[in-house]
Amino acid sequence: MAGDPLSLSLSPQEAKVLKGLARQAVGLRVPEEELSAQLSLTIETVRGSLERLKAKGLTVSSETHERILRLSPRGVEAREKGLPERRLVKVLSGGPLPQEEAQARCGLDGKEFAAAIGQLRREKALRIGEKLELEVPDPQGVRASEQVLGFLAGSEEVPPGLLPVAELMVKRGLLASEPVTHRAWSASENGRAIADLVGDRPSIGALTSEHLRTGSWLTAQFRPYDLRAQVPFITGPRRHEYLSWLREVEQLLLGLGFEERRGPIVETDFYNNDALFIPQSHPARTAQDVLFVEGATGKTPEESLLRRVKNIHEGRPPEEGEAPLSEGWGGEFNVEWSRRLLLRSQTTNLSVRYLLEHPTPPFRMYSIGPVFRRESLDAKHHIQFDQCEGVYGGEGVSLRNLLGLFTTMAREMGAGEVRFKPSYFPFTEPSVEGYVKHPRMGWMEVLPGGMFRPEVLRPLGIKVPVAAWGIGVMRLAMVSLGIDDIREIYGNRLDRLAESRV
């Protein structure tokens, strides 16, 4: 089939030629003319097939070069009318003649006449005086030239003895000399193997519905393809590489018994900070770091929840008659701040909202979603990045379980050993940071977490210990996927996404 990308498919003629060659003794080269005769195919068909088979690596050829002589148009004319020198000899055989008369009688033009004189002079057969006079009646050279013309006119080879004469006639333009290449062929090793596969049944290139409908494929044979041939470049749509990576993290968490939560991106300061016991004076709560929403406020939470959180921040008993949980942050808690709307700076707001649902212990919850900080934009930082976080609560849950969870996560992500170091987060105590070793970047802090403080749990009415963790998944994904610039994740370049590694 024309344009078949698999060029190894053999046409019927190619198959015939290849089989013909393969029948020959190993090492024997067969001239193409001979092959043409043997296979009853035209020489053109045989040559074409042999060339295509050679391109496929199925045949090899060797060449011999020679020259053939034939009559040029002037040679043909000389054969018919006689050589110029013969014509001159003829007119002079009757006796010497003046030049002009001799030329007129033999009917040669100036150039031919000069050539005729030159030839006869070379043979010392002509004396040039006032008249032209023949000294040898039948010059041998003229006869030899006529013999050459005779051989070639009769399609005979010029005998070796006459070849010097023929060379001179080539120079005179009476003969044409052409190089000729003779090629002899044999099948390559691969060609012999393929020839064995090619049967005499009709062969099929691309399988068509007609083959199937008619059943013709049953008696046909399938032409083998060149399995190394180039094929067309195809590409296509798929999942975003980063989101695919996140889905793997999600699968890991689902396998570890975590249930998913989603929630508000625009959040009140209460759930983003106050409920997490982050002091209102904390530098990260200012407009330097947090993105606030223009011209809109939210609602304060349920009154008793707000009261407990306020009391705890101020270092007072959560409820009248109780003991204070801790020193708190001192100063006066500004209730107005609780209503401020901002883009959540951490997904921990979802942990607070989840715990407010009072899940039955033991419980495990995860969320993955965007968080926002007022970073300046560069290759490593964007205002928006994703956080993956979760809580794990229940009777007897301890820091060791959190470390166990981190160890499992690191193992499942293929990160190997985890080292733990004490850390600090306003809403957990004790707090830890898990480090994993990256082959290129050394120890990296990737697994922060801790046990929620009583100041967080008490107002929410949670009575069991709760381990909380939050992973900067975007940074981890960049390291894991080899992405150097965070903007590539949001760039959605189609060729990159289509060809990203799985």
Binding site: L253, G257, P264, R364, P370, S398, L399, M451, E455, R493
Partner: protein, 571 residues
Amino acid sequence: MPQATLSTRTLFQILGSEISPREVEDLLFRTKVELHEVKDPEMMVEVTHDRLDLLCESGLANLLSGLLHQRPLATLPPTLSPSGFSVRVDPSVAPLRPEIALAVVRAPEGSGIDAGLLSELIKFQEILHTSLGINRREGSIGLYPLRGLVSPLTYSLEKVEGLRFTPLAVEGVPSSGEQDVSEFLSSHPMALKYGSLGHTKDRTLVLKDSAGTLLSLPPILNAAKHGEIRVGEKEVLIESTGKNSRTVRDLVGYMMLPFVTRGWTVHSTTNVVQGNGPSEPRWATLRKVAIASSTAEHLLGRPIGAAKIHQDLMAAGFDAEVRGPEFSVRVPPWRPDVLGEVDLVEEVMVLEGIASFPPQESGHQTQGRMLPLSRYSEKLAEILLGMGYQEAHTPVLLPRDLSRRLCPEKSTLELSNPVSEELSVVRSTLLPSLMLALSLNTGQSYPQRLYEIADVVEVAPETPTGSSTRLHLCAVLAGEGAGFANAMALLERLMRVIGSSAVREPGNELGGIPGRVAELSLAGEKLAVVGEVHPEILVDLKLQQPVCWTEIDLTLLWTLKGNGPRDAVPS
């Protein structure tokens, strides 16, 4: 995180022994200190925000001594002896910088400030100024030789006119002798830097003693003679002024540490606020925090024993009286990070070493599950992928101008303090995000198909967050021939597999070609929009191909399909 460069010589001198850099590194990995570099005679450390006490040689020496020798270097008696010094706080300071705290420190017999202590004090003071003091705005510290000062001091806001002052020489600015305060305030580099925190138009904050000696102009600079600490000094007054009492108390508390670590004693002072009578600072009697050993064992996950917990806390510098499994410890003034019981639990963890709490898989069985809406949207994603749409991931924030042209203004929230115009509006539909994604792909072959399933935020004044975070699905097709029919065909395909039929009505969505936008409503609510993007927007985004889009509110769809509130996105 806050950092400091510390002198290893001073550190080892205080510690009483030298330890190898390797050993320092191993010990500090067990703590909240991150060691960046040890290069004799200096080391660079970074600490977590709660442990500013570790940003001086004394703090680090105390920590290492606890870990190595199970004993702290700095201890205080339960109740400090009074110094006899007091400060009268004039009500005039209230609007500008209302709080002041003082403490007096005295050297042990035959001792005094040496070069190591002086250098540590100067560096530590500056670190506290920038960190906790937030460049002196929230709080600042002054140190004064006590000799020659006459109690009570007065902290007041005084008229600048007629006030004279000899500024302390500071780095790069030698003392210029006595001058008018007005001149000082308008010309001295320190006044130009911090002056706005300490004076109004014609008045300035002043600290002076009963003899009328001017000690300093808080928070700008001390006076030359009475505000300069020199080697050999045996009695020092530590002062802090600031906006709130907690900050000034903590600043003075931190500054005690280098003195107490070297055996100095601390003595309390009295504040007299007009109309309120005298008050003692809170550290006159060290505050107590109770701990039950069971809390530590439960949180940390293994038996430790009350005696061991007691020993650990003593080693960490908390004086403890044991009364069985529950006891109280006294918290020194330089450990304001200890708010309650759990902070002591963390101290136990550090002293025991995290490595002694091996990770443990829990025996709890819980069921992992995605939200039904997430599972549902995954199924729709599969359909879109099958139809040749590439998944995209775009930011939630949009350029203001694009949002105004594609998102209805009344349902869209803007930021009050955006970092750039490009990221200043919270998207209320996904279309603009995908249009931007297309505009970043103009060099690629067409047709292009993109989809995204992600959150958008709509204004919803009646909800607690003033907004509603909703899951949307949007698909765009760009290329020759992309038009309304493609978008509608896609929507109909999705609606068929969703199993809903909706009413098709003409829409007037922003950004669409008039007459080529349709809305689909279900139960009277707008569920989906399809249409052709207006060429004005295409041209602005440098897109030379027609674009059509399909957008569905999946949160609404899910709710209308009769699913419980648990599955909806809470707002």
